[in-house]
């Protein structure tokens, strides 16, 4: 699954780990439930859903090295608030990755809310993704 | 769509949608084409619905509109879709 940063494909150094697989030595991304239950040490990534609460988000920001925010649908904007809270309210500075149902049309919103990368489906036309970041020369609001 | 649900209990149905490019109301004809004229619509029995509602990239929101036993649109909404606004299609204020 291609990973984009600033509209360009980059190598993904993280490995998705399901709940039944032991955590590898390297960089694994685990579910929020496992993260909260196991409290693993070392650099770990966490996959979080749209309904993640501020309390859970605070835990994630304090101890995770990267966060994957899963969009359950293209019309569900909760992920934007999660990213923004991670950056502004909890001071998280690691990678925030957008995944799930995402469109290039919202790429600039993701970027401005604090997302650094986007995981797009295999075979995605990257043109609109690149274009999106340069489309608007100026914006009206603060960005995270 | 609820229109299709109602249509299953109707005397007859016609397959309808809006054309993607201009939004015009269109009716599926006996040859499988789309026509802007209601009179061209193929009148079909509700029990063959499942096989006739396949998606078509030329149109949006395909559904079966309920017809009366005289093969006219059964509701006000479908009458207005078929024949235009009751205040006249070119009704200026």
């Amino acid at each position: 699954m291609p990973l984009l940063e600033q509209g360009e494909p980059i190598a993904d150094s993280w490995i998705a780990i399901d709940d039944s697989t032991p955590l590898p030595a390297g960089q694994g991304v685990i579910s929020l439930a496992r993260f909260l239950a196991d409290r693993p040490n070392g650099p770990v990534g966490v996959r979080i859903g749209a309904a993640t609460t501020p309390e859970q988000l605070a835990e994630v920001a304090a101890r995770a090295a990267m966060v994957v925010i899963e969009f359950p649908g293209t019309k569900d904007g909760r992920g934007f608030t999660l990213a923004r809270r991670l950056r502004e309210r909890y001071g998280f500075s690691g990678e925030i990755r957008a995944a799930g149902h995402i469109l290039p049309d919202n790429y600039v919103f993701m970027s401005r809310c604090g997302f650094t990368t986007a995981a797009v489906p295999e075979g995605t036309d990257l043109r609109p993704w690149k274009q999106a970041l340069t489309r608007f020369p100026k914006v009206y609001q603060l960005s995270a | 769509m609820s229109g299709t649900r109602k249509a299953r209990r109707a005397a007859a149905v016609a397959i309808t949608a809006n054309r993607l490019l201009d939004g015009a109301v269109v009716w599926r004809t006996g040859t499988g084409d789309w026509s802007e004229t209601f009179a061209d619509a193929a009148v079909i029995a509700p029990d063959v619905l499942d096989t006739t509602l396949a998606a078509d990239p030329l149109v949006v929101g395909i559904y079966a509109a309920a017809l009366t036993e005289h093969a006219t649109p059964a509701s006000w909404k479908e009458r207005i879709r078929a024949f235009g606004p009751t205040i006249g299609q070119d009704a200026a204020p």
Binding site: T74, K75, T81, D105, Q141 | -
Partner: protein, 563 residues
């Protein structure tokens, strides 16, 4: 004539109190139009499915209605220049059928747009610094305000300044463009609420504290639609500097926790109801306290810069004098359709888009051109769109009224019915709208014909009559003194009647009078209601006052006596 002028091309004296786009606004709009052009191309090629495309087109004001696409054009806070009105006429001719409809959200709708033309239509709008951004979709919609902003005698602070600040803040907001549901903000700066702030998702009332500092009373969780609610006060005074931070805190809580499962329970009013206003306030306060407030601070210099763009126009020094005309019809029109401004010798003139038998809020391209001409001549090229679906010329010299009245009469825009029974608000209803259950326009036309006698309307006095074709309540039927709601019964049109609603300071939701009426009985039902009021009213008592004294009972008796 068909070539749109830039507002900045106009001489200074013709640029009255209108926010003029700068290069930031123009570059942004041009980019937005091209983005949409690409998106339409991706839809037509099949790269985008209808499900993916729908929220994108809605965010650009494009609906798919019964017979065609409909373009809802934003008239930000209802302020319009003559140049812009001419451009709307150009659009109506080039891309539609030569007319448009003004709405209760101070927008203009064109009903016969083609998807293939949509990007060109938006580009033509942009030529006149207009757009359709966020006139639909689950985002922050066009901010609405008082049609007399900047000229009203009872104004404390000009709400256009903050409405423009909010327009900029809410436009393509990166975090709040995919909310659980649509979000409507209204703002008023006068002692009388003419913006219906208590029935919006957020309603702002500008106030000054004891030190004279500007702040806002904030109502939250009001709204009409399926479950009408009068908003609750979440804060009595948010200082100007914290306005953006506070609104972000409300929106953030709503975006995170608002309902997304059931579209009918997704507006912020349901979240406020479920948590209670105190519970909701606690979450907002917590979010607000955790924000980097300094970053969100509304800079006084920015406010001053925006305010400068709404500087009062150069008006003449005149005195308030009585204006008379030999034609007795003039005095009736003057009393009903004009109101004095705070500047002596100037008045605001309301153009009635509610002629007998006409389509409420409808206007032809030819009328638009003619009215633009009148605005140039008599109102410093400025107009307002009201949430009652009329237009206002806000800067008219009172001494010009007789000649202006004759010009408006010739155009069919001088029906002296503002605030009277035939000043009906009506949505497009089932004739155009894919959501509607029943027709609104023909009912309004029939009612305006039945009550065409103006002497009788004046005798009946102030009365608001609002007709919505479905429960989404675009015509605000819940807050009409008489409200009419179209419902569908097995494919036939019926109309439910509510009484006692009000949209102003004494905001109230109407009560359902009883079983609904068939299409051929609704006009008679209104007649019976009016007759009952006329019979029972006491000296000088308005319809609303009489209803509040009498309650539903006498109306029920007369309406259903025969049944």
């Amino acid at each position: 004539m068909n070539q749109a002028l830039r507002l900045t091309d106009l001489p200074a004296h013709l640029r009255a109190g209108i926010y003029r786009y700068d290069s930031t606004d123009r570059d942004f709009l041009a980019a937005r139009v091209e983005e949409f052009r690409d998106q339409v191309a991706r839809r037509i090629s099949g790269e985008l499915t209808e499900d993916q495309f729908k929220p994108i087109r809605l965010m650009n004001g494009l609906y798919l209605q019964l017979h065609a696409y409909m373009l809802r054009i934003a008239i930000p806070y209802g302020v319009l220049s003559a140049v812009q009105l001419r451009q709307l006429a150009v659009l109506a001719r080039r891309f539609d059928r030569g007319y448009g409809h003004f709405t209760t959200r101070q927008n203009l709708q064109l009903n016969w747009i083609k998807l293939e033309d949509a990007a060109d239509a938006l580009a033509a709008l942009a030529e006149a610094d207009l757009h359709a951004i966020q006139t639909s979709g689950n985002c922050i919609r066009n901010v609405t305000t008082d049609e007399y902003a900047g000229v009203a005698r009872d104004e404390i602070v000009d709400p256009r300044v903050y409405a423009e600040i909010l327009r900029q803040w809410s436009t393509l907001h990166p975090e709040f463009t995919y909310l659980p549901r649509k979000f409507k903000i209204a703002i008023t700066g006068s002692t009388e609420d003419r913006a219906a702030v208590q029935v919006h998702d957020i309603g702002l009332t500008i106030r000054r504290d004891e030190a004279g500092e500007i702040g806002f009373r904030v109502h939250v969780g009001g709204g009409l639609g399926r479950a009408p609610v009068i908003g609750s006060v979440i804060s009595e005074f948010v200082p100007e500097a914290d306005l953006i931070a506070y609104l972000e805190a409300i929106l953030r809580v709503y975006n995170a926790q608002g309902g997304r499962e059931n579209i009918h329970k997704a507006r912020i009013k349901f979240l406020v109801r479920d948590l209670g206003i105190d519970g909701f306030r606690a979450l907002v306060d917590e979010e607000f306290a955790a924000m980097q407030r300094e970053r969100y601070r509304l800079d006084p210099a920015h406010v001053a810069a925006i305010a400068a763009r709404f500087a009062p126009p150069a008006l003449e020094t005149l005195a308030d004098t009585a204006i008379t005309d030999p034609d007795p019809a003039f005095a009736i029109w003057q009393a009903q359709n004009t109101r004095p401004n705070r500047t002596p010798g100037y008045v605001s003139v309301t153009l009635s888009l509610k002629p007998v038998g006409g389509i409420r809020g409808g206007m032809t391209a030819d009328q638009m051109d003619a009215v633009a001409e009148l605005a140039d001549t008599y109102s410093l090229s400025e107009l307002r769109v009201t949430h009652i679906q009329n237009l206002v010329l806000p800067h008219v010299r009172a001494i010009d009224l007789p000649v202006l009245w004759r010009a408006l009469t010739a155009l069919g825009l001088a029906t002296p019915n503002i605030g009277l029974l035939s000043d009906i608000i009506a949505c497009p209803g089932l004739d155009y709208c894919s959501l509607a259950n029943a027709r609104s326009i023909p009912v309004a036309q029939a009612l305006s014909a039945r009550f065409a006698d103006l002497a009788r309307q004046h005798d009946i006095g102030p009365l608001t009559l609002n007709i919505s074709g479905c429960i989404n309540a675009c015509a605000h039927h819940h807050v009409g003194h008489i409200g009419i709601l179209g419902v569908d019964r097995n494919g036939e049109e019926y109309y439910q009647v509510t009484l006692g609603g009000s949209a102003t300071d004494d905001a109230a939701l109407g009560a359902i009078v009883g079983p609904s009426f068939p299409a051929d009985g609704i006009v008679d039902a209104v007649e019976t209601i009016v007759q009952t009021y006329l019979t029972l009213r006491q000296d000088g008592e308005s319809f609303l006052a009489a209803y509040r004294r009498l309650g539903l009972a006498p109306f029920r008796e007369t309406l259903y006596a025969a049944a």
